[in-house]
Amino acid sequence: MRVFLNFLAGLIFGIGLIASGMADPSKVLNFLDFTGTWDPSLAFVMAGAIAVTSVGYALVQRRAKPVLENQFQIPAKWPVDARLVLGSAMFGLGWGLGGFCPGPAITALPLAAPGTLVFVPAMGIGIAAAVHLLRRSPTTTDG
């Protein structure tokens, strides 16, 4: 049941990425290109996602615990530290160069574009390197 529901949530997420255009790196790069071929669509992705998530999260968090687990695993909202800002800046640089963030890159795998087949293993190496360094000082994750 847990595995199936995770698959279903991943499938809905992936369909959402494709339907919204977020799975297309050229659309992402055009969203980021204010002074050129600007395509504001992705602001609508964020607005649609946050509208549903903020209301849904507020309702779900009235529960004492999730349906299938004993407790929620919600990351801390505070404090802001240098690691958060540095990591976000590195992520933004990579996102601006390739137009891919992690979800769309995984969703793009079956289409097997050469760029995707290079991006995803490189992302895996980046993840492994960061986790290796962080395991010296374990912390929680925001997602």
């Binding site: 995770n6 997420f13 992936g14 799975a23 958060l84 640089l93 890159a105 969703t107 190496i125 980046g126």
Partner: protein
């Protein structure tokens, strides 16, 4: 450079599906739908990370483009850069940076902002600003 059409309705509807997925995951599993966290749980499991469940979520992401054409009668529209060295650097930065920041577009940008996290607000403003600056420099200063 590929011109893309402005698609407010499809984009908002797709965003709503992403939100639905995030709400379902919190309701059933009590977890945030952050893709980098899910990838990390699947690839480099630690105690309590439930790698099988994380892998099932990733399996759902991978199934989506396979089911999209029969469901909608349309091909998945996508243009990926063919500059492979650039794409490799981008992948390294995205993987390292989002683990370092404890979240990416989904974990901070969607889930974090939806629960009014200050950390996620700072993360989202930072990665958006850097990504916009990066595209400005690569397209309009260097002219690639």
């Amino acid at each position: 450079m590929v011109i893309t059409n402005f698609t407010p309705l499809q984009s908002a509807a797709g965003g709503a599906l992403i939100g639905l997925s995030a709400v379902l995951l919190l309701l059933f599993s009590g977890r945030i739908a952050g893709i980098i966290g899910i990838l990390r749980r699947a690839l480099l499991p630690a105690a309590g990370s439930r790698p099988l469940e994380a892998a099932a979520f990733l399996g759902g992401l991978i199934a989506a483009p396979l089911l999209w054409p029969p469901l909608t009668g349309e091909a998945v529209r996508q243009t990926v850069s063919s500059n492979l060295p650039l794409v490799a650097v981008a992948g390294l930065l995205v993987g390292f940076g989002s683990v370092w920041a404890n979240g990416c577009t989904s974990g901070h940008g969607v889930c974090g902002l939806s629960r009014f996290s200050i950390r996620s607000l700072v993360a989202t403003l930072t990665f958006m600003a850097v990504a916009i600056a990066t595209v400005f420099i690569t397209r309009h200063v260097l002219g690639s």
